[in-house]
C-alpha cells in the first residue's frame, strides 16, 4: 500500500504551486532601492595580451557611475579553487591566478575585461562600447593534446606548461599493468570523447550586491546552490571581509545542475562594487553571456583499454584521459577529473588491476567544472562503452558479460580508493530485465524493421559515489573544505516546525521531501513542517546542494537534530505525565506512558516548552536543536539502464523509443520526486548523447554560442520513461539509509543510448564500433557510410 504522507509517500511538491503560478522569488525579481546595473565588457577573442584599456570616454557617458578594469582589483584576491590535487610525482597542481577582471591577458571568449556600472543597463552597454581596447591577439590554445606538447603557446605565462596536473590513481607500477595486458586473452581498446556541455539552467545567473554604510554590512543576492560556500570563499579568499558582516542569499533558484555551485567573479564584483559605487549593483546574465561565462561541463578525451582472460573475466583496466579545465580553475574543477572520476573507474565490476591517468589541461576556453554527475558520467561512459565493445568483439551477450564480472560481496574495496558499502547489482539487473521487457525486444525489432528502421538495444550499468562527502577523506585528497552539513530544527510554541537546512533546493523538491521526514519522525502532519534554506542569516551553516548529497548528508543532520528535539520533548512530556522519561513513547504526535492510557499531545508539549509554567527545572525552556553531520563514507547508488532506439538508415536520425531505468537508491522518501529526478537526469543524458555539443573552432570562437546551434533536448526528443526503484539496499552508514538520486539519470543514460545506436547499426550490417557524442543524424549517417 503506498503511503499518503510521511516517509515513502509521493507527497505533491508544495513549492510547485508558487513556481507554476508565477509567484516564485528569483534573484532577478529582487530589486534594491537605488540599484545601478553592471554590464561586463567581455573578450571576443580567445587569447590576447592587453596593451591598454582607455575608459575615459566611457566614464563621461550619460548615466555612468563607475568603470572598473583589472587594475581596480590589484589589491584584491582572485577567484579561489577549492581543491588542491597532487600530481603523480607528489607535486601540487599548477594553480594560476584568476582575477575578477582580466589582468594582463584575456584567456577565453567571454573573459571579463571591464565592467561598467550605470543607472540603466542600456547606458552601461552604451558606455562599454566606448571603451577603447588595444589587445594583441595571441594564438589560441584549444586542442588539449597540442596544448600538452613542449613548446606549446602558454595560456598562463607564469606556468611551466599548460598541464595543471598529471595525475594517477590505482596501480602505480606500470610494468605490472603492462604484464596484465600482455597476459590477457583479449584486449579491447576504445578512443572516445566526452563532449563539452553547457548546463543551461532555465534561470541565468544573477547577482545583486548591496552595502550598508551605517553598519558596514554587505548583502549578496545570488543564484547559488550553496550560499554559505559563496560567503566563505568570497570573504576569506577574494574580498577579505569578515563573514559576520556579509549575508549571502540564494532565493528561488531556477535550476543549477552544478553550474551554480561555483563562486563566480560577477558575485565578488557586485559585492565589491556596491561599496565602491555607494549603490547596490545588479547583474543579470543574458543567455548569450551564460554560454561564455557559466562554467561548462565534461570535455574529456580518453583512451580506455580493458583486458580479459580466456573466461571473459575482467583482469585489467587502463585509462588515459585529457581533461579540459578551460582557462582558469573554477571552484571545484580540479576535483572533477580526479577524485570524482578516477575513483569510479571500477564501476560495478571486480576488475583487480586498474590504472587511471589524467592530464588536466589549461586551454583558451571557458572554465570547466562540475555538471550533473561531475566526473562520474565521464568514468561510466568510458567503462560501459568499452565493456559493450568487448562483448561485441567476443560475440557474447553484453548483460551476461556484465553479470559475470559484477561485484557481489560487500563491503568491497575497489583498486581505486573507494569502499562500496552495499549493493545488489544482479538484483537490480533482474529488475531491469523485467521492467524493460527485454524478452520482447526481438519482436519490437521485427516491427521496426518492417517500417524500414533499424532497432537497437543498449544496456548500461553505473555506480556513483554520492552523499559527498566524509570530510576526513576528502581532506586527505586535497579538498580545502569539509563536506558535512547542518540543520536546525526550530519547534514553535504551537507545534509547527521550521527546519533551517544547509542544503539548497533549486528544483530538487526539498521543501516537500524534507518535511516528510521530520513529520514522520514525530507523527504530525507534513504541513506543520517547513524548511528554510538559502540565506546565511537564517540557517546555521551548510555546504549546499550538489553530488546527490542533500538528503544523505543534510537530511542526516536534520534527522539528528530532530532526534535531539524529540529527546528533549520526551523530558517535558515525562514531567507533564509524571512518569519516567524512559517510559515515554512518541507515536502519531502523542507522547504516552508505555503500558498506560496516559498521554499528552505534541502541541501541548511544545506549548509547555515555550510557556514553562509547569516545567522540569533541569531542562531549558524552548525547543530548538542544531546538528551537524559528517558522513562516514560516500553512498553508492547503482543501477542498470536499457535504451531502445530506432535509426532511420536514410538520414541517420535516431529516435529513442523506450528507456527503462532500474536504480538502487536505498530507502526512498518520496517516490514521485525520485522518479522526477531520474526523468530529468535521463533527459540530460539523452541531450548529451544525441544533441548537445559545445564546440570551439581552432581560434577559440564558440561555435555553439546560442540555442540556434546548441541543441537542448525538447519534450519530443525523449520518450516516456520506465523507472523502477524497487531494488533497494539501504545505505549502511546514514540514519535514513538513503543514497541520493539527483545525478543517476545523467550518469547512467549516455552510454545506454550510444550502445543502443551501435546495436541498431550492427543489426543492419554496419560494422560501426563507436560514434562520438552527440550522435547527430549527420554523424550517424557518416559512420554508416564510411
Amino acid at each position: 500500500m503506498p503511503k499518503d504522507s510521511g516517509i515513502g509517500a509521493s507527497s505533491k511538491r508544495r513549492e510547485d504551486v508558487r513556481f507554476l503560478t508565477g509567484a516564485g522569488n528569483y534573484t532577478d525579481d529582487i530589486n534594491v532601492h537605488g540599484q545601478a546595473y553592471v554590464h561586463f565588457l567581455r573578450s571576443d577573442i580567445a587569447h590576447g595580451r592587453i596593451k591598454s584599456i582607455d575608459t575615459s570616454t566611457a566614464e563621461a557617458m550619460p548615466g555612468v557611475v563607475k568603470v572598473f578594469t583589472g587594475k581596480d582589483f590589484e589589491g584584491v584576491g582572485g577567484m579561489p579553487c577549492g581543491w588542491e590535487v597532487t600530481d603523480k610525482h607528489g607535486a601540487p597542481m599548477q594553480e594560476p591566478p584568476h582575477p575578477i577582471l582580466a589582468q594582463g591577458k584575456v584567456r577565453h571568449v567571454g573573459d571579463p575585461i571591464a565592467a561598467v556600472v550605470a543607472d540603466s543597463l542600456e547606458q552601461a552597454r552604451d558606455a562599454a562600447e566606448a571603451i577603447d581596447l588595444d589587445i594583441e591577439e595571441l594564438p589560441a590554445v584549444i586542442d588539449m593534446k597540442a596544448a600538452a606538447q613542449d613548446g606549446a603557446t602558454l595560456v598562463h605565462d607564469d606556468l611551466k606548461n599548460n598541464i595543471c596536473y598529471d595525475w594517477q590513481l590505482g596501480e602505480t607500477d606500470d610494468a605490472k599493468v603492462d604484464e596484465v595486458f600482455a597476459n590477457a586473452a583479449h584486449v579491447t581498446t576504445l578512443d572516445l570523447v566526452n563532449n563539452r556541455l553547457v548546463a543551461n539552467p532555465m534561470e541565468p545567473r544573477v547577482a545583486v550586491g548591496e552595502y550598508k554604510r551605517g553598519t558596514d554590512e554587505y548583502t549578496l543576492y545570488t543564484t547559488s546552490q550553496n550560499p554559505h560556500v559563496i560567503r566563505l570563499l568570497m570573504c576569506a579568499f577574494v574580498l577579505g571581509l569578515p563573514e559576520h558582516k556579509v549575508r549571502v542569499v540564494a532565493p528561488d533558484v531556477g535550476g543549477g545542475f552544478g553550474t551554480k555551485i561555483f563562486h563566480y567573479a560577477e558575485e565578488a564584483f557586485c559585492t565589491f562594487a556596491a561599496k565602491a559605487c555607494g549603490r547596490p549593483v545588479k547583474w543579470t546574465s543574458s543567455r548569450s553571456e551564460a554560454f561564455m561565462s557559466d562554467a561548462h561541463g565534461r570535455d574529456h578525451v580518453s583512451k580506455i583499454e580493458l583486458a580479459l582472460d580466456a573466461d571473459n573475466n575482467f583482469i585489467g583496466l587502463r585509462t588515459n584521459t585529457f581533461a579540459n579545465l578551460g582557462a582558469y580553475l573554477s571552484t571545484f574543477s580540479s576535483s572533477v577529473p580526479t577524485w570524482l572520476h578516477g575513483t569510479l573507474m571500477a564501476g560495478n565490476y571486480k576488475t583487480p588491476v586498474i590504472q587511471v591517468n589524467v592530464k588536466a589541461m589549461f586551454t583558451n576556453t571557458v572554465p570547466v567544472d562540475a555538471y550533473r554527475g561531475a566526473g562520474r558520467p565521464e568514468a561510466t561512459f568510458q567503462l560501459e562503452r568499452v565493456v559493450d565493445k568487448a562483448a561485441r568483439e567476443l560475440g557474447v551477450d553484453p548483460i551476461a558479460l556484465r553479470r559475470q564480472n559484477f561485484v557481489t560481496q560487500f563491503p568491497y574495496d575497489t583498486p581505486v580508493a573507494l569502499t562500496y558499502d552495499t549493493g545488489d547489482y544482479n538484483g537490480t539487473m533482474d529488475k531491469l530485465e523485467a521492467a524493460a521487457d527485454l524478452a520482447g525486444f526481438a519482436a519490437r525489432r521485427t516491427q521496426s524493421e518492417a517500417k524500414g528502421k533499424l532497432r537497437g538495444l543498449g544496456i548500461n550499468c553505473y555506480i556513483e559515489a554520492c552523499g559527498i562527502a566524509p570530510s576526513n577523506i576528502v581532506g586527505m585528497l586535497g579538498a580545502r573544505a569539509g563536506l558535512y552539513d547542518a540543520a536546525t530544527v526550530r519547534v514553535n510554541a504551537t507545534g509547527s516546525i521550521s527546519v533551517m537546512v544547509g542544503a539548497h533546493s533549486h528544483g530538487q523538491g526539498h521543501e516537500t521531501a524534507f518535511p516528510q521526514v521530520v513529520a514522520d519522525m514525530i507523527g504530525i502532519d507534513e504541513s506543520l513542517v517547513e524548511i528554510v534554506h538559502g540565506d546565511t542569516s537564517k540557517i546555521p551553516f551548510g555546504m549546499g546542494t550538489y553530488g546527490s548529497r542533500s538528503l544523505a548528508v543534510c537530511g542526516s543532520a536534520m534527522v539528528k537534530a530532530t532526534e535531539k528535539v524529540i529527546e528533549k520533548a520526551k523530558k517535558i512530556a515525562a514531567h507533564l505525565l509524571e512518569a519516567s522519561e524512559a517510559d515515554i513513547e512518541l507515536k502519531d504526535g502523542q507522547f504516552s506512558v508505555a503500558g498506560t492510557d496516559k498521554s499528552v499531545a505534541w502541541g501541548d508539549v511544545t506549548l509547555t516548552a515555550y510557556v514553562p509554567h509547569n516545567f522540569p527545572l533541569e531542562v531549558e525552556p524552548g525547543l530548538e536543536e542544531t546538528a551537524f553531520y559528517d558522513p562516514a563514507n560516500f553512498t553508492f547508488p547503482a543501477g542498470a539502464y536499457a535504451c531502445e532506439v530506432e535509426v532511420d538508415p536514410d538520414t541517420g536520425q535516431v529516435s529513442i523509443e523506450k528507456f527503462t531505468a532500474a536504480d538502487d537508491f536505498g530507502n526512498i522518501i518520496n517516490p514521485m520526486i525520485v522518479d522526477g529526478q531520474v526523468h530529468g537526469g535521463i533527459g540530460q543524458g539523452i541531450g548529451q548523447a544525441l544533441l548537445e555539443n559545445c564546440a570551439y573552432d581552432a581560434n577559440g570562437q564558440l561555435l555553439s554560442a546560442s540555442y540556434m546551434d546548441y541543441a537542448m533536448p525538447r519534450a519530443d526528443d525523449v520518450p516516456f520513461y520506465g523507472v523502477d526503484h524497487s531494488s533497494q539496499t539501504p545505505c549502511t552508514h546514514n540514519p535514513l539509509g538513503v543514497k541520493g538520486c539527483g545525478e543517476a539519470g545523467a550518469i547512467g543514460s549516455p552510454p545506454a543510448v550510444v550502445n543502443a545506436v551501435l546495436d541498431a547499426l550492427n543489426s543492419g550490417g554496419k560494422a560501426v564500433d563507436h560514434i562520438d557524442m552527440p550522435m547527430s543524424p549527420s554523424r550517424v549517417w557518416s559512420a554508416m557510410n564510411s
Binding site: 542600456e122 538520414t651 536520425q653 544525441l690 555553439s704 547527430s776 549527420s778 549517417w781
Partner: protein, 263 residues
C-alpha cells in the same frame, strides 16, 4: 538594443512614406529583427510596423484559383486559412518554429529576410509564386538572390504573395537539431505544366531550384526517377550540424519523400 522611433501606420501608403526616413526599417513579427536589435547587431533609426495595415492581413482565394496572402499575415493564420485551399503550404507554415513564433512571425518578414534555412522561401520558389510589393510584382525566380539577399529595394514592402495552387505539393523538412529551422527542406509542387523542386537549408547560395530533378520528374513522376541524380556537394553548407555531403544526400532523401507524399 539602441533606441529607435516607432511608427504603426494603417495604410501601405503611410508605411512607404514612413520608410522614406533614413535607416528606417519595416517590422513584421519581429521574430528575426527584435533578437538582432537586442544583440545590437542593427541600429535602425525607426521601425515601421506592418501589423496595423489591414490590406496586408489575411488569406484570400483569387478567381484564377491562386491563393493570395497578405504580407503581414502570421504563420499561424496561414497554417489555418490555407489548410483547405493549399494544404502543403499550410503544412509548411505549421512547421515553422513554435506557437509563439507562428503567432508573431509573418510571411512577408520571412520572405524579405531570406534566411538560407527558412521554410517559406522554399514554398514561394517551389510554387512559382509572385511577390507583390508596394511598387511592383516580382516572380519568385527573380526574387531570391542568395543568403539574406532579395530583389527588394530599400524601403520596399512585400504587401502580398500570390501562390498558384499545384495539383499536388509537399514540403519535407529535416530539422536542424538545435534551431529546428530546416537543415534541408524540399518543397515539391506538381503543376499541369511541370514539376518544381525548391531546396532550402542546403546551399551557400540560399534557396534554389533543383532543375535536374525537375527535368527527371517531368519525364516520369515517381520516386526512383531520381535514381542516380546527385546534388553536387561543392556549394552545400557545412557546419556543426552536417557536412556538405550529408546535406547533398538529404536533398535526395527529402525530395524522394516529397514525391512519395505527392503520389
Amino acid at each position: 538594443m539602441y533606441s529607435f522611433d516607432f511608427e504603426k501606420p494603417s495604410t501601405i501608403a503611410d508605411a512607404v512614406a514612413a520608410l522614406g526616413a533614413e535607416d528606417a526599417q519595416a517590422l513584421g513579427g519581429g521574430q528575426t529583427l527584435i533578437p538582432t536589435l537586442k544583440q545590437r547587431l542593427a541600429a535602425p533609426s525607426k521601425l515601421v510596423s506592418m501589423s496595423g495595415i489591414a490590406e496586408m492581413q489575411g488569406v484570400c482565394a483569387e478567381d484564377d484559383g491562386s491563393v493570395s496572402i497578405g504580407g503581414a499575415t502570421t504563420h499561424a493564420t496561414v497554417a489555418l486559412d490555407t489548410a483547405a485551399t493549399y494544404p502543403a503550404l499550410a503544412a509548411l507554415a505549421g512547421q515553422i518554429g513554435d506557437p509563439a513564433v507562428r503567432n508573431r512571425g509573418t510571411i512577408g518578414g520571412s520572405v524579405a529576410n531570406n534566411d538560407p534555412a527558412a521554410c517559406y522561401p522554399a514554398g514561394v520558389l517551389g510554387s512559382g509564386a509572385t511577390i507583390v510589393t508596394n511598387a511592383r510584382q516580382i516572380a519568385a525566380d527573380a526574387f531570391f538572390e542568395g543568403m539574406f539577399t532579395t530583389a527588394l529595394d530599400e524601403g520596399e514592402i512585400i504587401t502580398s504573395i500570390r501562390f498558384p495552387v499545384p495539383q499536388a505539393a509537399s514540403y519535407q523538412k529535416f530539422l536542424q537539431p538545435a534551431s529546428r529551422f530546416a537543415l534541408v527542406g524540399v518543397y515539391l509542387a506538381r503543376f499541369a505544366d511541370g514539376v518544381r523542386v525548391a531546396v532550402t537549408g542546403a546551399s551557400e547560395d540560399g534557396v534554389f531550384r533543383w532543375s535536374e530533378a525537375e527535368e527527371a520528374l517531368d519525364k516520369e513522376f515517381r520516386p526512383d526517377a531520381l535514381m542516380g541524380l546527385r546534388i553536387n556537394p561543392a556549394n552545400m553548407i557545412a557546419d556543426l550540424h552536417g557536412s556538405k555531403e550529408y546535406r547533398a544526400h538529404l536533398v535526395s532523401v527529402m525530395t524522394k519523400r516529397a514525391i512519395e507524399a505527392c503520389m
